[in-house]
């Protein structure tokens, strides 16, 4: 098991920004936190912008429409314009709302997503903190967003919001089980909790990716995609905000900037989930073509970061594709799917993986002699 490089990025930043060292000692940590915090915030906002634009165009093209076309070429600046519009809107807090909670809720939701970004490796060294319990950390922090949503539902003092929040709570708690099973399976294969290690383990030809490691890994892969959709409350699991049932669910009463924070948080979470799928099953920042992966220097970093973003956006597209195709499922069916389909399937796959790992440890299919000599 390789050594974990805790906080690699932090030390790099100290090197990159030498003036930080000249600051008084006690300011080092706050400044570092500030600078490193900026990265997730920027990424979330950018991903939000691109994601919303992409969602609009994907949905439009699937629905024989053009989507936004007015601002910028092909409407590329539409999302920005909407963001500015939302910022300029009146800040409405319902009179009967629980004011402090109402204000805190979107922040809590955003922080939940923000914390997720900390453990996502964009490259070997571009990770805010490479925790040695990275996967655990993600699984734990992923539930923080739901706190914000329950707060929002409760504080709005609106029946629809409350119903939406309760659905969200039930849904997220339920789907943590299949998500956990999938994560454990991945850990069994990788032998490490560290996110960087998990990716490093998949280095080499794409047959080295975890999805190809054993014949049941694709089951885990699909189960994880479905469960992550549910955790993200994306269609067909968008019950907490089912517009035909609950008007707008937990954010019915939110408008303006607060609403847009929820929105950005949602897209940030979507991106994290997509990136996670890529990291856990599809080689993370590696392209799967050894000579590309072995390039050093800035170009190599760009290729790897690009590879991760490419894969993540592919899954983002998948999420949208699913959303604009399928009807929404009902609450009881959602539980059925979770407890009676995903959990048993995931569990069986996990056990098979464990045995496979015992009998044929190492490089998956390659250890069967399917692709000899193409390892790292």
């Amino acid at each position: 098991m390789p050594e974990t490089t805790t906080g690699a990025l932090i030390y790099q930043i100290l090197e990159l920004l030498p003036f930080l060292k000249e600051l008084p000692e006690f300011l080092h940590i706050p400044m570092l936190m500030f600078v490193t915090g900026l990265i997730p915030v920027t990424v979330i906002s950018l991903v939000g912008l691109v994601g919303v634009y992409m969602e609009r165009k994907v949905s439009a093209f699937m629905q024989i429409r053009l989507g936004p076309m007015e601002y910028g070429p092909w409407g590329t600046l539409q999302t920005l314009a909407d963001g500015i519009k939302l910022m300029g809107k009146e800040d409405i807090i319902p009179r009967e709302a629980d004011k402090p909670l109402f204000i805190l809720a979107p922040i809590a939701a955003f922080v939940g997503v923000f914390l997720l970004f900390i453990a996502i490796p964009f490259d070997r060294d571009i990770i805010v903190v490479d925790l040695n319990v990275g996967i655990f950390y993600l699984a734990a922090v992923a539930s923080i967003e739901v706190v914000g949503i329950i707060m929002a539902g409760w504080a709005s003092n609106n029946k629809w919001s409350l119903l939406g929040a309760m659905r969200e709570a039930a849904q997220v708690v339920a789907y943590e089980i299949p998500v956990g099973i999938c994560l454990v399976t991945v850990v069994i294969v990788s032998g490490s909790f560290s996110m960087v290690d998990i990716v490093e383990e998949q280095k080499g030809l794409f047959l080295n990716w975890f999805i190809f490691r054993n014949p049941v890994m694709w089951v885990v892969f699909i189960a994880f995609i479905i469960a992550s959709l549910a955790e993200l409350k994306r269609a067909p699991f968008d019950l907490p905000e089912a517009e035909s049932e609950l008007v707008s669910g937990f954010h019915t009463e939110y408008s303006g900037m607060r609403f847009s924070i929820f929105f950005i948080a949602e897209y940030g979470a979507m991106f994290v989930a997509s990136a996670l799928i890529a990291i856990l099953f599809l080689g993370g920042y590696y392209t799967g073509i050894p000579f590309l992966d072995n390039i050093d220097g800035i170009l190599g970093i760009l290729i790897r970061v690009g590879a991760l973003f490419g894969k993540a956006f592919a899954f983002l597209f998948l999420q949208m594709w699913i959303r604009w195709t399928l009807p929404r499922i009902r609450l009881d069916q959602m539980f059925y799917l979770c407890y009676k389909v995903l959990v048993p399937f995931g569990f069986v796959a996990m056990i098979i993986t464990a045995f496979w790992q015992m009998v044929l440890p190492g490089d998956g299919f390659m250890s069967l002699g399917w692709a000899p000599g193409l390892g790292k």
Partner: protein, 326 residues
């Protein structure tokens, strides 16, 4: 267990089918997109499209057929066929001071265009009627612009002239007709009597029902009671249900006109066929309601209403028609 797996298989398969369809739409988006970028490009509007009206003013004979046919009474016409009103628009033998349509009311039903004898009012291609104010919804068809303050001032100002023209003409006519009056009267009375006999009760009902909420007199229905050479009796039922109106006997006593229009002048009206009730000039009231133009009902054009027109009030039948729907 079998059904469990079969169900999962079936659902998954249908999901894949569905996603295949949306995928095909996604990749062939260019060919399939149906959006029209509206302000930049416009859809083809078929020639029969029923948009806002346009009027061939020079063909209009001021016959009020259109305003009578309108189910929501949103056409306002004023003018004179008795002579030329200064500053007005010229139709065919008629001067029009006002021809406006309230698009806040209009339901684009085309019923007004169908009865026009000269086919001079049409529904056009214009459909974009955006306005932030209600009074801007009134269109002046004579100028094809919004019916504005100035237009209204003009219309109100011309009423005296129209009135005068009508009186002038009437006076001349009356003198001319004096000799023939007696014979004509007899003939008309006979005809009207026949009609009254045939129509009987329902006619009386019509007289009442035609204007349940009438404020002003209506020249139309009274044509029958007039058979008795009596002044038209208007059962003035303010909001009386129809049945009540119907119950009213035909030869009802001529009632004093209701409050809104107190100055009922009984005018000598031995008119020829298709006479127009000349609008008297109403006091320049603020209320638009009161300023509504004369839109005489079709029946009034019937020959034989040699009865006394006691209702040549400024807003003779126009408002009454309008109000009856309210």
């Amino acid at each position: 267990m079998g059904t469990y797996f079969r169900e999962i298989y079936k659902v998954s398969k249908s999901i894949v089918t569905g996603m295949g369809i949306t995928w095909r739409y996604f990749v062939n988006a260019k060919k399939r997109i149906v959006t029209i970028q509206y302000p930049h490009e416009k859809a083809k509007i078929p020639s029969r499209h029923r948009g806002t009206h346009f009027l061939e003013t020079e063909k209009c004979i001021l016959c009020y057929q259109c305003s009578n046919a309108c189910p929501v009474d949103c056409i306002y016409i004023e003018g004179s066929r008795d002579g030329t009103v200064s500053g007005s628009h010229q139709g065919k033998g008629a001067s029009l001071t006002r021809f406006s349509i309230d698009y806040g009311l209009c339901i684009y039903c085309n019923l007004c265009c169908e009865p026009c004898p000269t086919e001079c009012i049409h529904m056009g291609q214009q459909f974009n009627l955006v306005s932030t104010r209600r009074d801007e919804m009134m269109n002046n068809l004579l100028t094809d612009k919004v019916y504005n303050e100035a237009d209204h001032k003009f219309v109100v100002g011309k009423r005296a002239e129209i009135d005068h023209l009508a009186e002038e003409k009437k006076r001349i006519k009356a003198e001319k007709a004096k000799a023939a009056a007696a014979a004509k009267k007899a003939a008309a009375a006979k005809k009207a009597a026949e009609e009254a006999a045939a129509g009987d009760k329902p006619e009386a009902k019509e007289a009442g029902a035609a204007k349940p909420a009438a404020k002003a007199e209506k020249p139309a229905a009274p044509a029958k009671p007039a058979a008795e050479a009596k002044p038209a009796a208007k059962p003035k039922t303010d909001s009386a249900p129809k049945a009540e109106g119907a119950a009213k006997p035909a030869p009802a006593k001529p009632k004093a006109d209701p409050a809104p229009k107190p100055d009922v002048k009984a005018e000598e009206g031995a008119k020829p066929a298709a006479p127009k009730a000349p609008p008297a000039k109403p006091a320049p009231e603020e209320k638009k309601e009161a300023d509504k133009p004369v839109t005489e009902s079709k029946e009034s054009a019937k020959p034989g209403d040699d009865k006394k027109k006691e209702d040549d009030k400024g807003s003779s039948s126009g408002p009454s028609e309008e109000e009856k729907k309210s």
